[in-house]
Amino acid sequence: MRGRLKIYLGYAAGVGKTYRMLDEAQALRQAGVDVAIGYFEPHGRKETIAKTEGIEVIPRRTIEYAGAKFEEMDTDAMLRRKPTVAVVDEFAHTNVPGAGPLKRWEDVRTLLEAGIDVLTTLNVQHLESLNDQVWQMTGVRVRETIPDWVVDEADEVVLVDVTPRALRNRLERGVVYSQDKAQQAMENFFTEGNLAALREMALRHTAHEVEEKLRPAREEPAAGMSRSSQKEQKERILICLTGSPSSAILLRRGKRVADYLQADCLAIHVAAGPGDREAVDRHISFARNLRIETTILEAADVPDAIAEFARSHRVTQIFMGRSHPPPWWRWFEETIVQRVVRQARDMQITIVAERRR
């Protein structure tokens, strides 16, 4: 049987995720459950380190990369040891290249498949679907992301909440980082506004996870809907991607909307000629990582092909990036978006916002 996954979700470093996770590990150990730590990041925090006392720690393995030594969880050793419950800190961590899977969440899935229960920690800003939103709100582009479906697989997501004021107090007291680093953090990422916004995201996301788990049992539709809408057909969302860098934003946004609406999600690229295939391939592979079904078509008339594909796949909503208007001397030309709007007359078309800072 697959192991159970429990995620302690927070909104920033220092809210107490690891502490809460270890607290539970201790409670389990005292109840006689076989617990082992696969990876734990002490960050030099005394109270947290004290919480590991008495719990078996499986030694990490050392990997040499680019002349430096790195430590990662020893997944094979964990599999050999096979505890009932494994503690694995920092779910979104990226492993050093050349040593097994690229992402820690992949290691965690291996443990789960071996029937080991896993406790782990995650900050909300690592969720792939929130990446652009976090960037726009805080100015920070989070590099270590985790696909939403991996988090959705969790059996339980627990919010570790603390108020921004309390968190900033902790920073000031030097509990989270060293004093000088704390000062810098408070002026940049840990501003009251950023923390409040991230916290709201974490609250809403936890609520969403709770709702996802309730959905099978809960009778549709939600309150306020008329009977006619109950029979409403399932939505199918089609994302039109290109080689433009904004396609990543488009994919994240489209998938997020699809997830919330419980809609099917498809992505298509129509190649009208030799374009930037490398960038397109990157986006196609990114889409598949997000569990979006992908298609590449070749056609001379891009809008026509999109509309045709959408119609034959019973798409209800098309997501597109913004077309830039043609230069003034070609004012009579329509943009691709305009032509899709004209041709896919029976569908909704969403033009996704430009995200700038």
Binding site: Q136, T163, R165, E200, A217, Y260, R322, Q348, A353
Partner: protein
Amino acid sequence: MASRTDRRPNPEELLRRVQADERRERRGRLKVFLGYASRVGKSFRMFDEGRRRKERGQDVVVGAVQTEVTPDIEAVLKSIDIVPTVRERHAGKDYEVIDVAALFRRHPEVCLIDELAQDNPPGSRNLYRWQDVRNLLDRGISVITAVNLQHIREQQDQVERITGKRAAHSIPTDFLNEADEIEVVDAPPDALLGRTGREGAPDPQKLAELRELALLLAADVVDRQLQQYLESNQIAMGWGAQERILVCLTPRSDAEPMLRSGLRNTLRFHGALLAAYVEQTGLPAADRERLQSNLAMARELGAEVHCLKGSDFAETILAFAREQRITQIFLGHSLRQGWRLRRTPVERLIDAAEEFDVRLFPHGGRA
């Protein structure tokens, strides 16, 4: 922050802000621990915070404790002074009332109040305990308190729908919004089920529903605080954490599919649904009638309806959308051949609405 735009507040707004700041400075700080059910551990978290503050040198006093406490709370209470509640009897019923006078005399920095949703006996100066707490705050005493979702008045209908029960005492959401800080005490239902309950085991499904409600309530309170913070620091944050959908209505628009889809999206995202139209003069009677029925439908579906004034349709809608932190604009589009030389207002809006998701609805299409 997204952008620091100069919003140039007017003098009245500035004055209001200064007064609010002054009030805030004199006033004690209110911190609320919010739980979704009993036994999630919010009282313990509250007393534990009191203990830690005391260790850091603050003057902390307990103003109210539940009659039955768990052993872990009992241990914490040993280290903190208690100003006992006064027992008053009215019509054969006992009331535990905070000793406000004694607390004023003692005047601690921080006062811990458990069981916020208690009534005082009829005829008291304050009918509710939360009003006593407000008095303490006004006197500059900070209060840390704990409250359960089922005691938030505006949530009680929904809680009753889930549990079939309605708590006798309540506090208004407005009081929660006065809090400087609110902290959610979250625990998955299985943790509660594991603890041996005094009464029959609660239904995990119901607990999960309550948990979702509590998280969303806290998110709304946090959102409000965030807006206040951004406003008082004059920061514009373009994209909030909540989905906010604006349906643009025109006399000719096919409003129903847009509104229904808007409602569905709002419910799924736990977002906000707004509908707006820009006033026009000299509308033919038929258009006016159709607009009125569209607006009525919007209200009926629970949208917040706004009538905007402005000479330019696109600019008026965009200014409103920015002010309201809208994330998605829903628009109906007519089926003209492209949008060329003389562009319609809707077409100009589509072009200018770069920072929003714009969803176009074909007139006469499906929702």
